[in-house]
């Protein structure tokens, strides 16, 4: 101990005189740690904090790395809901053209804006289940108008009017089919009126009927989505910023079309996390530094405080950053936040040194002896305190979770770096200051200054506590216990998106996509190599109530066995198609009228079901086609009304017969194309499918599961995950991984808190060498936590995986105040609790304020996780201060002075003062 004090005094004396050399040493250390700084990566996304040891995370990383579509950027066009369908389609086309340009190839690998109709037109029947193929054969065995409409009616009655859920499940396809049918009836009507119909009109109508809409449009068709596949993945943190340039281009093009556009997808959310967390950290750092410097100027009445204390503070941060680079290689959101909180902790060392230095100057010492005295009296305590805090923080390095162990390392290193920077730099800075003042012939103003924080407040508290220890202890125990009763009500934020900045477009779009497209963009995936297993899983998963869609390569590349069975049925269908009755020159007008009327009835009934089922997309379409409003009133003439007149004839005119021939030949051609019995092979798949479902090396496959409701919402996710878990335990995805992160942060946070309590206990026991005093010191800390959790439960502040892992740190920091009081009480002795609080209260208040400034600087952050951390930690520090300054002295006084509990160290005799 003596050697340590001597060493400190020697450093203080030498460095204050030889300040240039001391600066050089500091610069050298900074340079060495600069190597670490150059290695440091800023990984400011939640994704970067995922527990790497988890199998789900490893699978998820593989998926991101090897499947291009996993990194999809979803471009939503018409996000304000004011665009017309035409505007949306035009904008999507313009974006497709722009992002396909070679100049974007460095950033964008592929652009997908439409369903690949060519593939469906060629292989549609090979993708159809055998049972459905049989029905398909029956439906299209005769392509004359009457049998065609009859078969369509049969199909509707079988599929839809018997089962409203089928209608809801196939709402999008049904909308396209009904619109196309309406178009076909318009052609029939025009022909019945004697007008010639162009073949291209027939072709377009029949294509729309068979293949549906190729754009990916919302239910109201005023919004559309397309996908951009970037050249980077979620694992390339440094590339995420490039999303900004994609966003800017998309917004510019959309604005030219008078349409709003927004981007989402895991990469975009990641980019937004980086931007908002960096913004938040920047604001917090500036705010914390300014407030701390203002406090230093006010407290010590020193205008030079920003240099004398601020410079070592910043150097300490730089060293910590460099050390983090050397030991870990990266900073994540939590460790970066800690660096800012570190300012509030590191400045405490400067407060201790300056307080003693100014005290020595007040006592008449010259500046050099003042520094030496300050180091002699405070230096050893600073080092002991710093090492114990660093050890308590460092204990977290042995946590199971990467984020917690990284926090432990950075926090421990941070304390050591700040302490070292303060001890090394303050004497040379004071020496330089004195040298400059001397050179300018100015007096040293510090000589006349005193610490100006008034001690009358803490003095009054001290007198009050001394006079009414019982009342105070009872009062605070009641408050603490009452608040602690509510503590079990504190909840954990289960929606990762609620930890992001409020109003973040990429997050809000997730809800919008659920509302408009009936499907959440973030789902789950299964990685595998066995396509037969995927087929089985797909069948089982699509039956689940929470699942909107299940897709895998088997949807587009059926198994050989299935393809063989289907090929036989397709051959039969081709034969039937070839042998179908010729296009008749005769049309039975009465039968045609019957089928049109039957179609109208079917559409009205489906309209009723869509109205009752609140199918927002289908209901208005059917109302429009049938001319029936929501009240059930006919509000307009429809194509059926016109056909009722035009078809009321005994004999079809030539135009109608011609139309029948056109429909027959065009439909036959389309069906023939679809009925390709050739086996589909992997190389025939459109890029969109292979990018989505086949890994880059072609060895692995992906099965994707989309949820009906937004799975980021806790209860939706729980139901979605539970149902998937009932089928397979191999599904992964950002939602699954985020759950694991929260779970591990919670369990590891709890375990680390226990470890921190034990480490702190051991340190306190070694320091006080008294079990009773050690146990009593825990009381304010435990009450602080109980009250904090109670306040959180009452105010609705939730734990999340960012603020929960800071709890172990609070143990190391929050116990400090009571420790200072213990030390002073031992010095002042029985009957002097008022002096204890008066003497220590000021310093404790000052250091508490700086710590609160460090944590509180997160509160203005736009990222909600940072804000909640700021609130939770600031409240915790304030509570620790209040319980330490009121409850702890009262309990000490009662225990020691009323009940005679000994607080002296083992092996020593109590000295009455």
């Amino acid at each position: 101990m003596i050697r340590k004090e001597l060493l400190l005094q020697r450093w203080a004396a030498w460095s204050a005189i030889s300040y240039k050399r001391a600066f050089l040493i500091v610069a050298l250390i900074t340079l060495i740690l600069g190597i670490g700084y150059s290695r440091l990566q800023l990984e400011m996304t939640f994704y970067s904090m995922m527990p790497k040891s988890s199998a789900a995370v490893q699978d998820y990383e593989t998926i991101n790395e090897e499947f291009p579509f996993a990194s999809q950027i979803i471009v939503a066009v018409g996000t304000d809901g004011n665009a017309t369908t035409e505007q949306v389609k035009k904008t999507i086309d313009a974006l497709q053209v722009e992002f396909s340009l070679p100049e974007h190839s460095e950033v964008i690998e592929s652009v997908y804006s439409k369903v690949d109709r060519d593939f469906l037109q060629s292989h549609g029947l090979m993708l159809t289940e055998a049972d459905d193929l049989q029905r398909f054969t029956d439906s299209y065995s005769n392509l004359n108008l009457v049998p065609l409409l009859r078969n369509i009616n049969d199909e509707f009655e079988r599929e839809y009017t018997q089962d409203a859920d089928n209608l809801e499940d196939h709402e999008q396809m049904a909308v396209s089919q009904f619109k196309a049918l309406n178009e076909l009836l318009i052609l029939v009507n025009r022909a019945a009126e004697g007008n010639a119909i162009e073949t291209f009109e027939v072709k377009k109508t029949l294509e729309d009927y068979l293949f549906g809409e190729s754009y990916m449009l919302s239910e109201a068709e005023n919004m559309g989505i397309m996908f951009l596949l970037p050249t980077f993945t979620m694992n390339d943190f440094m590339e995420l910023e490039r999303v900004v340039e994609i966003e800017e281009i998309a917004k510019e093009i959309a604005s030219e079309q008078g349409v709003t556009v927004g981007l989402t997808g895991i990469i975009v959310v990641g980019k937004d996390e980086m931007v908002t967390s960096e913004q938040g950290l920047g604001i917090s750092m500036v705010l914390a530094f300014i407030l701390i410097m203002v406090l230093m100027i006010l407290a010590f009445r020193m205008n030079s405080a920003p240099i004398l204390a601020g410079l070592p503070l910043i150097i300490g941060i730089i060293w910590t950053t460099g050390a983090a680079g050397l030991f870990i290689g990266r900073l994540n959101i939590i460790t970066a936040m800690y660096l800012i909180a570190l300012m509030g902790l590191g400045i405490d060392y400067a407060i201790h040194i300056f307080s003693t230095y100014i005290q020595s100057r007040d006592e008449g010492m010259d500046w050099l002896n003042g520094i030496i005295y300050a180091y002699k009296t405070s230096g050893s305590g600073i080092i002991t305190g710093g090492l114990t805090t660093a050890a308590a923080f460092g204990a977290l390095a042995f946590s199971k979770t990467d984020i917690l162990s990284e926090l432990g390392i950075v926090a421990g290193l941070g304390i050591l770096c700040e302490m070292t920077a303060m001890l090394l730099l303050i004497p040379p800075l004071l020496g330089r200051r004195h040298h400059r003042l001397e050179k300018k012939g100015k007096p040293d103003t510090i000589h006349t200054r005193k610490v100006q924080i008034r001690s009358s407040l803490t003095g009054s508290i001290g007198s009050f506590v001394k006079a009414h220890p019982g009342t105070i202890a009872t009062g605070f125990l009641i408050i603490g216990i009452t608040l602690s009763i509510f503590a079990p009500g504190v909840t954990i934020e289960d929606n990762l998106m609620k930890m992001e900045a409020k109003g973040l477009e990429s997050v809000e779009l997730q809800d919008l996509l659920v509302d408009e497209f009936g499907m959440a963009p973030d789902g789950m995936s299964i990685l595998g190599t066995d396509l037969a297993e995927f087929e089985r899983l797909q069948e089982e998963l699509k039956e689940l109530e929470t699942v909107a869609s299940v897709d895998s390569i088997t949807s587009y590349l059926p198994s050989d066995k299935k393809q063989r069975i289907r090929a036989t049925l397709i051959e039969e269908f081709r034969e039937i198609l070839e042998l179908r009755p010729d296009s008749a020159e005769y049309i039975d007008m009465w039968e045609l009228y019957e089928e049109v009327f039957r179609l109208e009835m079917n559409l009205i009934e489906m309209g009723d079901m869509a109205y009752l089922g609140n199918m927002e997309r289908l209901s208005p379409v059917l109302n429009e086609i049938t001319g029936i409003d929501d009240e059930g009133n006919r509000y307009r003439d429809t194509i059926f009304d016109r056909l009722a007149t035009t078809l009321e004839t005994d004999e079809a005119n030539q135009a109608l017969v011609d139309l029948q021939r056109q429909v027959d030949s065009t439909m036959a051609l389309l069906l023939k194309n679809m009925a390709d019995p050739q086996q589909i092979t992997q190389d025939m798949l459109p890029d969109m499918f292979s990018d989505t479902f086949i890994s880059r090396d072609g060895d692995k496959y992906l099965l994707t599961i989309n949820a009906k409701e937004n799975p980021w919402v806790g209860e939706n996710r729980e139901a979605f995950s539970s149902q998937i878990q009932s089928v397979t335990d191999r599904a992964t995805g950002m939602i699954q991984v985020a759950d694991q992160l929260t779970y591990m942060a919670t369990t590891d946070g709890l375990r680390s808190s226990i470890i921190a309590l034990l480490v702190v206990g051991i340190i306190l026991l070694l320091d006080f060498r008294n079990l009773k005093l050690t146990l009593l010191t825990y009381i304010p800390l435990l009450f602080s936590f109980g009250s904090l959790f109670g306040i959180m439960a009452l105010t609705g502040i939730k734990f999340d995986f960012v603020n929960i892992i800071s709890v172990p740190l609070l143990i190391g920091i929050g116990i400090d105040d009571a420790v200072h009081i213990n030390h002073r009480y031992r010095i002042e002795g029985k009957g002097n609790m008022d002096r204890v609080i008066a003497k220590t209260g000021t310093a404790v208040l000052l250091t508490t304020i700086t710590t609160i400034i460090g944590f509180g600087s997160f509160i203005p952050s736009i990222m909600r996780a940072m804000r909640s951390t700021g609130v939770v930690l600031s409240v915790a520090m304030a509570l620790a201060f209040i319980y330490s300054i009121f409850l702890h002295p009262a309990i000490l006084l009662i225990a020691h002075e009323r009940f005679g509990a000994s607080l002296r160290p083992w092996g020593s005799k109590e000295v009455q003062k």
Binding site: T161, E545, S726
Partner: protein, 251 residues
């Protein structure tokens, strides 16, 4: 030791059998509220999606137990668009008659599990309500719980029939009055719906829940059925109503 274990096993089996019988008695008592030779009911149904109320659907329902077969006929009287539309259930068969077209069609066999009129109830939920909720299930465990301050039996149900609507259900029945308070339905590993029965009123000595709310646990949606009038063993219910020909004759 071995003897002791056998004895313990035997005693626990007896205890379980006794508990299971108790559960059955409790369920039977709770179900007895809903069972009658016939029931006539006038009710309204509102679907709330994301907190917003949809159209109020008003219907008249007729129930009859005939030779072990459950028969029901529900006729919508409002809103105007579907007034006159009716659903007829005879055992497992379900027909719908559309007032807008006057046509009647038989729904597919799986339709009973589907949403009834776009609500959070399935046709099966509605039917089970008038057979007793546990008619298709048996108790697998019984414990106690408190719901809204009321002491309840918490009974876990597992299906006793083939092709059940749910994999399991947990129902809460008050200890003093044997009223169902809440039934949680589970399927494929997830809690998918919760039915809450409320506003019990005395009808001819039977306490009947006049408000039944089905909450979807999978989306932000609930459906509230309010009974405006109910008659047990009503003269309004006639056997001839439960035929396809009567359904087709509805105006």
């Amino acid at each position: 030791m071995r003897k002791f274990m056998i004895l313990a096993l035997f005693l626990s089996l007896i205890a379980f059998t006794v508990a299971a019988e108790d559960a059955k008695t409790i369920l039977d008592r709770a179900d007895s509220i809903f069972t009658a030779e016939n029931i006539y009911q006038e009710s309204s149904m509102v679907i709330y999606t994301k907190g917003e109320a949809g159209i109020e659907q008003i219907m008249k329902s007729y129930y009859l137990e005939d030779r072990g077969k459950s028969l029901s006929l529900a006729v919508f009287t409002a809103p105007k668009r579907i007034a006159g539309t009716a659903y007829l259930t005879i055992g497992e068969d379900l027909w719908v008659r559309f007032a807008s077209t006057g046509r009647t069609r038989k729904l597919s066999s799986s339709a009973k599990q589907n949403s009834a009129s776009g609500s959070d109830f399935s046709y099966a939920d509605m039917g089970e309500g008038n057979n007793g909720f546990a008619a298709e299930y048996e108790a697998s465990s019984i414990t106690e719980a408190s719901i809204e301050g009321k002491n309840c039996y918490k009974i876990t149900l597992i299906p006793s029939s083939e092709d059940p609507a749910y994999d399991s259900a947990i129902c809460y029945i008050t200890k003093d009055t044997y009223e169902y308070l809440r039934i949680e339905m589970y399927k494929n590993g997830a809690h998918i719906k919760t039915m809450v029965l409320d506003d019990y009123r005395d009808i001819n000595g039977k306490l009947y829940p006049h408000t039944i709310t089905m909450y979807s646990e999978l989306k932000d949606s609930k459906t509230v059925i309010i009974t405006n009038m109910i008659e047990f063993d009503s003269k309004k219910v006639q056997k001839r109503y439960f035929s396809k020909s009567y359904l087709e004759s509805l105006k």
